[in-house]
Subunit: 433 residues, 2 copies
C-alpha cells in the first residue's frame, strides 16, 4: 500500500518533507570501471571497442562490422508489421510537427547609439545518440532524441545501440530510418560513449551526446562532459496526478501504474480534493496489480514510493505540486487550464481526463525526455534547443564607439585590465584626432 | 614569441592539430577537500560556514553578520565616484536592454486532430550567483550574471562574495544594487556553494547557481549539480582575430593582449591573409608588452599559447575558425558580415575594426560569459534562457484521443508497457461504447 497523507493532519509537513527527500535510487559506483574503459578506448580505438563488445554483448565483430549497414537495416525493417509501422510513422510525424515549432529565431537590430546587435543560432554539427539495448530498447525514445536533432539541422547523427548476442530490434531500426539517423553502430555501454566522444578509426567523434542508459552509460556521460555536450542524466520516472472526485478511479489507477511499471524506483503520487476518491483509486490500483504483466515492478514502486495526498482545495494541490516539481503532471479537474496557470515547476502537463500521460510518451508530440528528481525547478525537457547554440553579434560604428567606448575604458581601469581599456582608447584616439 | 603557422607549409596540419589540443590548464585535484567542506556545511550549517570564513578569509563573523545589510551596501556605494557610477549604470542599462529581447515566448495551438499543444516558460524561483573576491572581483561579471536572472523573472537572487580581511569592493556592491540582487552574503569558496545548494539556518537554498570561481568553487559546482542547476564551468579566456592587411597592427595587438592579460593560460590567436601584417602585429605586441601593467601574465600567455596563422584566403580562415570554435571572434575584414555567415561555431562575434572585444566585456550588451575550450561547438553564452525552464502542454479531446490513441496502444504493446496502453484503452472503450 502507498502512504496516505492529509494536509489537515498535524504531522503532514514532516511526512511530506520525507516524501520529497526519499532517496529512490542507489546508483552503484562504477566510476573507476568507466574511467578505465574510456582510457582504453582513447588508447586503442576500435580494438578496445571490439574487445568490450565481445565481452559484454557476446558478439565477435571486426571493425568493418561495427556499423549496421543500410541493407541490414532494410532487412530488419521488413520484419515490422503494418500496424506497428503505421503507429511509429504517426508518432514520428507528430513529434516532428511539434518540435519544428521550437526552432529559435535569429535577431539583429540597431540600438539608439547606432550599434548593431543581435544573435544567430546554428546547429551542432555532429550528435551521437545512445539507445539502450535489450528490454529497455524503446523505439519511442529514439524518435524523441533523434527527431529534435534533425529538426535542429544536425547534419551528422550517429546512434549506438548494443545488440547482445547479435539480436537487433526491428522497430528501433525503423525508428532510426524514420528519424533520418545517418550512422548506426552495434555497440553499447561506456565504450560506446567513449567512442562517440573521442572517436575511433571507424567512428568519427561527435560534439553532443544524448540518450538514456544504465549506470555505466550515465557515468561515462558525466566523464566526457566538457569534451562534448551531454543532455541531462535522467533518474527514475515520476508522475503526479491532481484529480478531483469526478474521475474514473480505474483511469487514474492506470495512469499511476503507467509510471510505476517502468522501474521499482519510479514514483506515482495522487493529490486529490476527495479523500473517498483517493481510497477508490487505491483499491483500483490493487485490482490492476493482480493482473498487470509488470505487476512485480509496478507493485514494488507503488508500495515503496507511492502516495495519495488529500488536500483542502486545488490551490493547495498546486502549491504541493510546485514543491514536488514533477516530471509528469496530470490535471484531471473540471478546469485544468485554470489550474495549470498555478503550476510553476513541471516537466510536462497533461490537461484533462482525456489526456493520459501515456499519450505524451508516444504520440502527443511533446518530448518524453523530461526533468526528473525535482529538477523541473531549473531545467526543461529535451528539445530542439539542445541541438543548437547561439552566437552573439556586436558591430560598433565610430559614433557608437564614441558613445559607449568611454564607459568601457572606465570599467577596464576599475578592474585593472589595462589592455582592455587601451584597445578602446587607441580607436577613440583616431576618431578624435 | 608566439608560434607562426602557414597553411601553405607541409607540416601545417600537424602544427594546427597540436594548437587545438594543447592543454592550457592543469586544474589541481581538490575534489576530496571540496567533498568534505560540502558535507560539513550540510551537517553543521551556519556554524561550518562561519568556521571556514574565519579560516580562509580571516574574518570572524556571527550568523547574523553573514548577510551584508542594506545600510552597509549604501555606505560602500557612497564611495564610488561619479565617473565609475555612470559607466556601471550605462553598462547595466545596455546589458538589460539586450537581454530583455531574449525572453522566450509561450506557444499554444490546436492541431488537425483537435489536440491542443504548446509550452509555457517559467522563471527559476531562486538563483544564487557566485562572485569571486579579491583581485578577480569584477563588477562587470556580476552584471552579466545577475541581470539575465532578473530579466528572466527570478524572484529571489542571492549572491555570495568573499571579503578577505573584511574588505568589500564598492563597485561590486553598486553592481548588485543596479542589478536588483536581493541578498548578499560575505562568504566564498566551496562553503558558499554548499550553503546556496543545501541552505543553512541563515541562507535559504536556491535552485540554480551561476558565476565564475577558482578550482574549489568549480569542483563544488560540479558536486552540487543535480541538486541544483549550474551554468558552465568556464576555462581560461580565448580570442581569435581574423584580420586582413588593412588594419592597424597596434589595435589588433591590443585586442590580442586584452585576453592574454586575463590569465597565463589564456590564448590569443591571429589568423591573417597577409603574412607581413602578421609580423607587424607580432612586433606591436612585443612593443606593448614592454609597458603593460600585466605584462608578466600577458607575456606568458602570448609566449606559451599565442599563434599567428597565415591563410590563403578568408574562406580558409573561416574553416580554421570553425575548428577552433573560439570563445571570442573578431572579424576585422572589409566585409565582416559576409565573413560571419561562414562562421558556424563561436561564442561571440565582434564585427569590424570599430568593435574591439573589450566592448563586449563591458558595455556592448551581449553577455561576456561565453563557452571556452572549444565548447562553442555545442553550447552558448549565458542568457535569460539559463534562468527559465519550459513546461510542455498537451490536452486531448475525445476526437483527438480517437485519432491518435490507437497508435499509443500499439507502441505501448511493442515496448511491453501494458499499463501505458491500458490507460489509453480504458478511455477509448468509454468513447466507443
Amino acid at each position: 500500500m502507498p502512504v496516505f497523507l492529509d494536509t489537515n493532519a498535524p504531522d503532514f509537513e514532516d511526512a511530506f518533507a520525507a516524501l520529497l527527500t526519499a532517496k529512490r535510487e542507489d546508483s552503484p559506483d562504477v566510476d573507476d570501471t568507466v574511467a578505465a574503459i574510456i582510457a582504453d578506448v582513447r588508447a586503442r580505438g576500435d580494438e578496445a571497442v571490439l574487445d568490450y563488445t565481445a565481452r559484454f554483448d557476446r558478439l565477435d565483430l571486426t571493425a568493418d562490422q561495427l556499423a549496421i549497414s543500410a541493407s541490414e537495416v532494410d532487412a530488419e525493417i521488413a520484419k515490422v508489421d503494418d500496424t506497428d509501422r503505421a503507429a511509429l510513422e504517426q508518432a514520428a510525424e507528430r513529434i516532428r510537427a511539434y518540435h519544428a515549432r521550437q526552432i529559435p529565431e535569429d535577431a539583429r537590430w540597431t540600438d539608439p547609439e547606432g550599434a548593431e546587435l543581435g544573435w544567430r543560432w546554428t546547429p551542432v554539427s555532429a550528435a551521437g545518440l545512445y539507445v539502450p539495448g535489450g528490454l529497455a530498447s524503446y523505439p519511442s525514445s529514439l524518435l524523441m532524441n533523434a527527431i529534435p536533432a534533425k529538426v535542429a539541422g544536425v547534419s551528422r547523427l550517429a546512434i549506438t545501440v548494443p545488440t547482445p548476442d547479435g539480436v537487433i530490434n526491428p522497430l528501433v531500426m525503423l525508428a532510426a530510418r524514420l528519424s533520418g539517423v545517418d550512422e548506426i553502430y552495434r555497440i553499447g555501454g561506456a565504450q560506446a560513449i567513449a567512442a562517440l566522444a573521442y572517436g575511433t578509426e571507424t567512428i568519427a567523434p561527435v560534439d553532443k551526446i544524448t540518450g538514456p542508459g544504465n549506470a555505466f552509460v550515465a557515468a561515462a556521460k558525466r566523464r566526457v562532459f566538457g569534451r562534448v555536450g551531454i543532455d541531462m542524466i535522467a533518474g527514475p520516472s515520476e508522475i503526479l496526478v491532481i484529480a478531483d472526485g469526478d474521475n474514473d478511479p480505474d483511469w487514474i489507477a492506470l495512469d499511476l501504474m503507467s509510471q510505476a511499471e517502468h522501474d521499482e524506483s519510479a514514483q506515482s503520487i495522487l493529490i486529490t480534493t476527495d479523500e473517498t476518491f483517493g481510497r477508490e483509486v487505491a483499491a483500483a490500483v490493487e485490482a490492476r496489480l493482480e493482473t498487470l504483466e509488470r505487476r512485480a515492478i509496478a507493485g514494488a514502486s507503488w508500495r515503496d514510493f507511492g502516495a495519495i495526498i488529500t488536500v483542502r482545495d486545488l490551490a493547495e494541490a498546486a502549491a504541493l505540486s510546485n514543491r514536488i516539481a514533477p516530471e509528469h503532471l496530470e490535471l484531471c479537474t473540471a478546469d485544468p487550464d485554470a489550474l495549470s496557470e498555478k503550476i510553476t515547476h513541471a516537466g510536462a502537463i497533461f490537461l484533462g481526463q482525456w489526456t493520459p500521460e501515456a499519450i505524451g510518451d508516444y504520440v502527443g508530440g511533446p518530448n518524453h525526455v523530461l526533468p526528473t528528481a525535482r529538477s523541473a525547478r531549473f531545467s526543461s525537457g529535451l528539445s530542439v534547443m539542445d541541438f543548437v547554440k547561439r552566437t552573439t553579434l556586436a558591430k560598433m560604428t565610430p559614433d557608437a564607439l564614441r558613445a559607449i567606448g568611454p564607459a568601457a575604458e572606465t570599467l577596464a581601469r576599475a578592474e585593472s585590465l589595462e589592455a582592455h581599456g587601451l584597445s578602446v582608447t587607441a580607436r577613440l584616439r583616431k576618431l578624435n584626432r
